[in-house]
């Protein structure tokens, strides 16, 4: 049997190929979209998150700085000067040894007690950081808190009890912050036997505070004075004792510095 042979053209493969090629454009578009999302949008998104937190922090800083600037502008310069004078009276910026000794002498004279002895070892007069009791606010090994820096005077007085009480009152009414640490009293009856004399020895801590060498960070807030701090400053201001107690001037010039006075 002879079957006819017809040569059919091979067109199905080309049709298939052209059909699959038409998928190229959308697939390419999707790929490009993913590339954009991955390499442009995602990094920018993380940068945006970082920027947002940075901006929040900056906004906070701006707010704090503005508040600080407003607060600083609201202070009355004259009132601050007065408060500075009062605070300087409370805690002088230097040890003020001689003004203190002068004050003690005056207080003794005014109280009617006899000042037997004043013993002080002030150390360096200028070096703020080289003092024995240099401690801003710390604690001693014994556990007792120390506040501020102080010089110690050992004072010995004699007088009647009323005068001693007056001496104490006068010591505590001095504008400079003084504290009596150790006190010993011994009574001795006078030769007439009528009135008793009191011999007192005490250690007086005279506090001082050097000026700060540098300001805090510009962003640190301005701390308000508490009511008790204001009360202390007003108390000193109200007494009118703003000026530092003067040390009496003495004539100078001696041909023989070794001759006795």
């Amino acid at each position: 049997m002879n079957l006819p042979t017809i040569a059919l053209p091979k067109i199905s493969t080309e049709v298939d190929l052209s059909r699959w090629i038409s998928f190229g454009a959308p697939v390419g578009a999707i790929l490009i979209s993913f590339i954009i999302l991955l390499f442009i949008i995602w990094p920018k998104f993380t940068q945006i998150l970082q920027l947002k937190s940075d901006n929040q922090e900056l906004a906070g800083r701006v707010q704090n700085l503005n508040l600080k600037a407003q607060k600083l502008a609201s202070f009355d310069k004259d009132s601050l000067d007065l408060q500075l004078g009062a605070s300087e009276q409370l805690l002088p910026s230097d040890k003020g040894v001689f003004s203190l000794v002068t004050q003690i002498e005056r207080i003794s004279a005014a109280s009617g007690v006899l000042l037997n002895k004043v013993d002080v070892a002030p150390g360096s007069l200028n070096d703020a950081g080289n003092t024995k009791n240099a401690a801003a606010v710390g604690s001693q090994p014994g556990g007792q808190a120390t506040i501020g820096q102080s010089i110690q005077l050992k004072v010995s007085i004699t007088g009647d009890y009323k005068s001693f009480e007056q001496f104490l009152k006068n010591i505590f009414s001095v504008s400079r912050i003084l504290a009596i640490k150790d006190l010993s009293l011994s009574a001795s009856t006078s030769s007439s036997g009528q009135s008793s004399q009191v011999r007192a020895a005490m250690t007086i801590d005279a506090y001082w505070q050097p000026l700060p060498k540098e300001l805090n960070s510009i962003e640190s807030p301005v701390e308000d004075l508490t009511e008790s701090e204001l009360a202390i400053l007003n108390q000193v201001s109200s007494t009118g004792a703003i000026s530092t107690p003067s040390i009496p001037s003495v004539p100078t010039g001696k041909t023989d510095p070794f001759s006795s006075f």
Binding site: A25, A29, F75, L91, P212, L215, E229
Partner: protein, 179 residues
């Protein structure tokens, strides 16, 4: 009964591929539009944040300049605050001795006197003489009273001895109370 599909199989395949191509095209357009919008939105938001940041930096600088102009005031308030704060702490912790002695005087019986008085680190040691045991009892009672408790606590009688005249020599220690 099964459907009779008279379309040739090549044509049916071509239709399915065409349908898939159209679907893919639609999806790709949606993704492209989404990408374009999100790119624009992201870049726009980023630009606005950058400009806001530069504005904030300028604000920080201007506020810093304003504070620097008020540096003298800041120095004053810093010094005043530092000194007043320390002064307040010292005043609040120091013993008010004038008040203590004033209150102590009110507690001591008349037939009794102190010969020695030592105060060190809030520890108080007193020695003296009482005319009689009643005067000594009066002192102890006064120290133990509410008024006495305001100035001293932990009162201890360290020694008590009488002589031939009936007077009592005593030693008392106590703790100073706060201010």
């Amino acid at each position: 009964m099964a459907d009779i599909n008279l379309l040739p199989s090549e044509e049916r395949t071509a239709e399915r591929i065409d349908f898939a191509r159209k679907k893919l095209l639609a999806v790709s357009i949606v993704i492209l539009v989404f990408t374009a919008i999100s790119t624009l939105a992201t870049l726009g938001f980023y630009t606005s944040l950058v400009s806001k940041r530069s504005q904030l930096v300028k604000d920080v600088q201007s506020s810093s300049v304003a504070i620097s102009d008020l540096q003298a005031t800041e120095e004053l308030i810093t010094v005043v605050k530092a000194k007043a704060s320390i002064a307040d702490k010292i005043v609040s912790t120091r013993s008010n001795l004038p008040s203590f002695f004033s209150q102590l005087g009110e507690l001591v019986p008349q037939g009794l006197y102190f010969s020695d008085f030592r105060l060190s680190a809030d520890k108080l040691v007193i020695s003296g003489k009482a005319r009689s045991s009643a005067d000594m009892a009066g002192l102890v009672t006064a120290f133990s009273s509410q008024k006495g408790a305001e100035i001293i606590s932990n009162v201890t009688i360290d020694s008590l001895s009488s002589d031939e005249s009936g007077a009592y020599a005593f030693g008392v220690s106590a703790q100073l109370v706060g201010k």
